[in-house]
Amino acid sequence: MASITFREVEGSSLKYWLLFGALGLFVLFGALAWNHMHHYGHVVTGMDNQIVWGLPHVFAVFLIVAASGALNVASIASVFNKPMYKPLAPLSAILALALLAGGLLVLVLDLGRSDRLIVAMTNFNLKSMFTWNVFLYSGFFVLVGIYLWTMLDRSVKSWTKTAGTAAFLWRLILTTGTGSLFGFLISRELYGTGLLAPMFIIMSFAYGLAIYLMVLAAAYAWTGRPLGDAVMLRLKTLLAVFVAAVLYFVAVHHGTNLYFTKAHAVEAFILRDGGAITSLFWVGQILIGCVLPLVILLTALGRQRSWLMIACALVILGGIAQMYVTIIGAQAYPLDMFPGFKASSSFFDGEVHPYSPSTPELFLGLGGVAVALLMTTFAVKVLRLLPVSLDDATVAKLEQH
């Protein structure tokens, strides 16, 4: 087998430290936002007793979903034995760890009592999907960590496939768990369906790959290492398949609801009458997140590096919009406790709940993104994660074996 040389990123240029500093600044903003929320309470957020999960959850769940998706490239290499993907695997694994860490940090810092994290780590209710997620996240860190070790340390190289397979299976369960956080909720019309679990898995494929592609391209462009089209175009096609699959799941989810009379009202809210939520659905989730990327990826445009990057960025933005619609949209629609009656109360029963995220929430969410990117930036400097060259000739040699 042709050998590939991995080398740390030099990381001494001004550009590197500027990137490092900029990300660090956002981490700092995130920390300040948390401190503000923690000191004054959730009263300083846009969240209330109607919209109980807000923008931080949108970011957190997006990052957690994307984390498991980012591992895909590595899984293709190790589990499905595609030699071309092998040099791409270490970055895939580290990105998965970093995104999960960023997402969990946001999730944890948005708790009403974020100072009591130790309680969450020592008291478990095994019937709770959240508890299962705590185990799934921890297991993911361990398994992907071991997997990364087998890739970086020659003495345990023979275990790569085993570790990779374990990590792959685990990540499927993990995203099932994330989807089931919502899928296991009986009270809201848009949740309470097993469909959310596979839907979240396919979403993770798309978001994770889009983020991976952008990070890969950025890392190679900024370090001046060659990155050939062979790699990028292969991954481009894969991204198109994933995005199309997301669109399919969204269509099935809403199509099913549209058939059920009891869900007509909530569907009308999301698809037609929901104002900002409706715009986010059609423009954000469908147009920006699915249709435009598909147009780019499936036409000649996608062969150009810059257009491919635009498509990836659109998938990411669309993904955040999709999370927003999934999490906020479902809460904004009032609970129907007395079917057939119009309800009103001092607790805003029977009315659509407005939500406008506050600045601290936005910065807390962005802080999570920054943590993930900062970890990746640091990791590529201290660990041998990136091949010196991914030009077409190097990759072609891998393919022959």
């Binding site: 009263v43 994290l117 609970l335 007395f338 057939g340 119009k342 001092s346």
Partner: protein, 258 residues
Amino acid sequence: MNELKTMSEQVPQSAERRRFVGAAAAVAGLTVVPGVMLYEVANARPEDQPASSAVRWGMLVDATRCASGCSDCVSACSTENGWTPVAQSEHPRQAPQWIRKLQLEDPLTQAQINLPMLCQHCAEPPCVDVCPTGASFKRADGIVLVNRHTCIGCRYCMMACPYKARSLVHEPLNDTQKPDVPRGMGCVEACTFCVQKVDRGDGTTACAEACAAAGHNAILFGDLNDPESEISKRLRELPTKQVRADLKLNLGVRYHGI
């Protein structure tokens, strides 16, 4: 007569006093004080005994008696449990509401229904299922509570509750809590069936007392497991429904007239 009045007014309000008048009341009180007292003493468990599953506390709400525009139950709850009434809150959207008046209208017939909505104290509570730390729990006597010592404020229970019964405390309370009702910023809370009153043997809740005092008698609190309790008798006579009965959560609160 003057003496008796003083006695009956004081006893239900004071846990401490029960300790010394309890024995006397059990003997003497039974015969002389108004009807409320009879149930109190009958339901009282010794204070060093844990709540027992032999009892299941429940509530019967007669919506046909619930007056439009009356919110005495809500005020009484707020006073008893120390949460700020929403009208006085600086942040009404974020203010906790343990109990609220719901107005329902049938769009076709314009028929109107008034009722108080509160934690339904499910036998199969979704909030308890989803709580990651086990802070949401159901006591042996069926009361669903939040253990604030282990609540991390994740609000998953609020996502799971089909009745929107729970609130997060969004802002600091600055030592305004009642000694019997600890509450705190960042924790989730809801109706407790006035567990502090239940534990001291009052056998009723603040909302039920207030509703009776207003002369509506739309709220009846009692032991669903005791076939001889007032609530069990009334439940046998009146047709009642559970809210979102389709979820089969087996609610502790039953409504008549919905």
